[in-house]
């Protein structure tokens, strides 16, 4: 900047007539110095007072308001964040408990089912045993009956055969004794 100043001064120096009384540097003419000083002080004082008392507090107020609003909003956001975090924790707790309950219910129902199955199995097994015993009894009855039946049939067949072959009627009691004897020897093999 000082270069420009120097340049200007040089220019002014070349132009001799610029330093004529009315044409020199008007800044150095003291005629209106007092006036300029007076008006500067007056205007600047008015400007200063109106700025300091009126406009600057307004701007400051507004800036502070904004800052406070931002701070409040941030605080609110933090509060809500904390709230949501506690809610999430509660929710997780509930889920965990529910999971535990589920496991408990699962185990309980499994146990109950197992017991049920066991009892049913037992009762069915008992029934089956009974049935088996009955069936065995029937079979053994049938066996017993069948032995006498077979003996009878054998006697009849034997007497018939002997009758047809010899034409004589045999002594029934001796025949019976023989068949009984034979059946005792052989029937065991088949029944």
């Amino acid at each position: 900047m000082n270069r420009y100043f120097g340049f200007t001064l040089a220019l002014l120096a070349i132009q001799n007539d610029l330093f004529a009384a009315e044409a020199g540097m008007p800044q150095l003419d003291p005629k209106y110095w007092a006036s300029q000083a007076f008006w500067l002080i007056l205007v600047f004082s008015i400007l200063y007072i109106s700025l300091a008392k009126f406009y600057l507090p307004k701007i400051k107020n507004n800036l502070d308001n904004r800052e406070n609003k931002i701070k409040d909003d941030l605080e609110d956001a933090n509060k809500f964040k904390e709230l949501s975090e506690t809610k999430i924790k509660e929710y997780e707790k509930i889920i965990e408990e529910a999971k535990k309950q589920v496991i408990k219910i699962h185990i309980e129902s499994k146990n109950r089912l197992d017991k049920d199955i066991q009892t049913k199995k037992e009762s069915i097994e008992k029934e089956i045993e009974k049935e088996i015993i009955n069936a065995q009894k029937e079979i053994s009855d049938l066996k017993k009956n069948s032995i006498s039946d077979i003996q009878k049939i054998s006697e009849n067949i034997a007497s018939n055969i002997i009758e047809t072959i010899s034409g004589d009627k045999l002594n029934e009691s001796s025949l019976k004794a023989v068949i009984e004897d034979m059946s005792k020897k052989n029937l065991g093999k088949y029944l």
Binding site: M1, N2, Y4, F5, F7, T8, L11, L12, Q15, L18, A23, G24, M25, P26, Q27, L28, D29, K31, Y32, W33, A34, S35, Q36, A37, F38, W39, L40, I41, V43, F44, I46, L47, Y48, S50, L51, A52, Y55, L56, K58, I59, K60, N61, N62, L63, N65, R66, K69
Partner: protein
Amino acid sequence: MASNPMQQFSVHKIGPEIKIAGIDLSFTNASLFMVLSASIILLFLSLGTKEKKIVPTKIQLIAEMFYTFVAKMISDTAGSKAKPYFPFIFSLFMFVLFCNMVGMLPYSFTVTSHIIVTLIMALFIFISVTVIGFVKHGFKYLSIFVPSGVPSVLLPLITVIEIISYLSRPISLSVRLFANMMAGHTMLKVFGGFVISLGLLGGWLPLGFSVALTGLEILVAFLQAYVFAILTCIYLNDALNLHH
């Protein structure tokens, strides 16, 4: 030359002559442009503070940017102790800036291109800062002339230099602003005169210079206002926080 480049700085009376106790306090074109600049500042700030929105309007945003700009400048250079002087430095910055900027308009008058105006401001700052320094620190304030860590042989010399540099503060502060504004406007006028005298054939080069210089001068107008304000802050810092 078509017209005198210094013509633009001449002060002339507007309206009736006002004389108080034999001193001529007439309203002049300089006074007119002081009033105009201050009015523009007040108008701008009243528009900027008309609405108090959380999300600012454009003009509100600009007003708040000026506020925070100056507030940051003060807190960076002079610390928190300088807060009570914020309105003064803000007013000073705005006044110098708007006087400079209004002076950039063609046919206008640049208030800050007058040494008497800048000198009064600089003297006021100088005296205020000195008074603040003595009020805050008493006679210990004189210790700013005696920097620490200087060999005792050099101390008398350094002290003399410090005193001279302290006393030349108002001169350097006022001449810096006045000379910058005057030089810039004179340059613009000189190149403008060249455009006319060289005519259609040769006038294009100085015209280009004029355009470039106008841009430069707008920068200088802002920069000098900033420098004026920040130097005030630095002087205030010396008075508030005695470092030596």
